[in-house]
């Protein structure tokens, strides 16, 4: 729907191990809590479903990679804010 709220944020992978399986799981689980559709755009422009661990792992995003988190739906802003914080905090890793 054209008039659905959208939100987006550019984030950088901070943690040394990158967007590996456990961070991908955490991301997908938080995304799944929101009703909005969530997408991640990878460094080479590919877009994946932010609620799918498999698709997130397809990004192969290493430390320093820039990603765009996009959401569309009623809680889009809230979803993007929470997910951006998760990424920028390095998923709680070093």
């Amino acid at each position: 729907m054209a008039d659905e709220p959208t939100a987006a944020a550019t984030v950088t992978i901070r943690n040394r191990l990158g967007l590996h399986a456990r961070p991908a799981t955490a991301f997908a689980q938080i995304a799944q809590k929101h009703s909005s559709r969530v997408f991640i755009v990878g460094p080479s422009g590919e877009e994946v479903d932010g609620k799918s661990i498999m698709e997130i792992l397809m990004l192969g995003a290493t430390q320093g990679a820039e990603l765009v988190i996009r959401a569309r739906g009623g809680d889009a802003r809230h979803a993007v804010d929470e997910l951006a914080r998760l990424v920028e905090d390095g998923f709680g890793e070093d």
Binding site: R16, A21, T25, I53, M54, L57, M58, G60, A61, T62
Partner: protein
């Protein structure tokens, strides 16, 4: 990096003996050792590392596949074993469904970029429905290797 470089032909098991997660991990670590990808003396440590990882969150990510993985200092290069189950394995998968194809990935501990690249290659393949179906249906090592090669050379769509 492509599937044929990651997956060792000598570590492909087309009929897993067990339907239990822990025993399947034991079988696949054994396959990696038989293939020369890990030392016999590391057997128990590698099994425990994979199971410890599973206890922190299942790598059964849904759609009938699981990708247990180990990062270990003793690993010299990325190598994966493949195990197929006709009956399905209880992997405590996120979608609660049985797992029919297991890819156990062993990565060197200090090279996170390579690990991520291997996961990228594996998941780009596993997200392909045709690839998943053919992998599950394969009955010989030759069929599995042909499928991996076809995927690597973009013959599967």
């Amino acid at each position: 990096m492509n599937l044929c470089e990651i997956i060792s032909e000598k570590a492909v098991i087309t009929r897993l003996d067990s339907a239990q997660r822990d025993d399947v991990v034991v079988e696949l670590v054994g396959a990696l050792i038989s293939a020369g990808a890990a030392a016999e003396s590391m057997r128990e440590e590698l099994v425990e590392a994979a199971l410890e990882r599973e206890r922190r969150g299942s790598t059964g990510f849904g759609r009938g596949v699981a990708v247990p993985h180990i990062k270990h200092a003793s690993a010299k290069k990325i190598t994966a074993a493949v195990g197929l189950s006709q009956t399905g394995v209880d992997f405590n998968a996120l979608d609660k469904q049985p797992v029919y194809s297991v890819i156990l990935l062993l990565s060197p501990a200090n090279r996170p970029e390579e690990h991520l690249q291997a996961m990228e290659v594996i998941f780009k393949s596993l997200s392909n429905e045709t690839f998943r179906r053919f992998l599950r249906q394969a009955t010989t090592v030759g069929e599995v290797m042909t499928l991996l090669h076809e995927r690597d050379t973009q013959q599967l769509t």
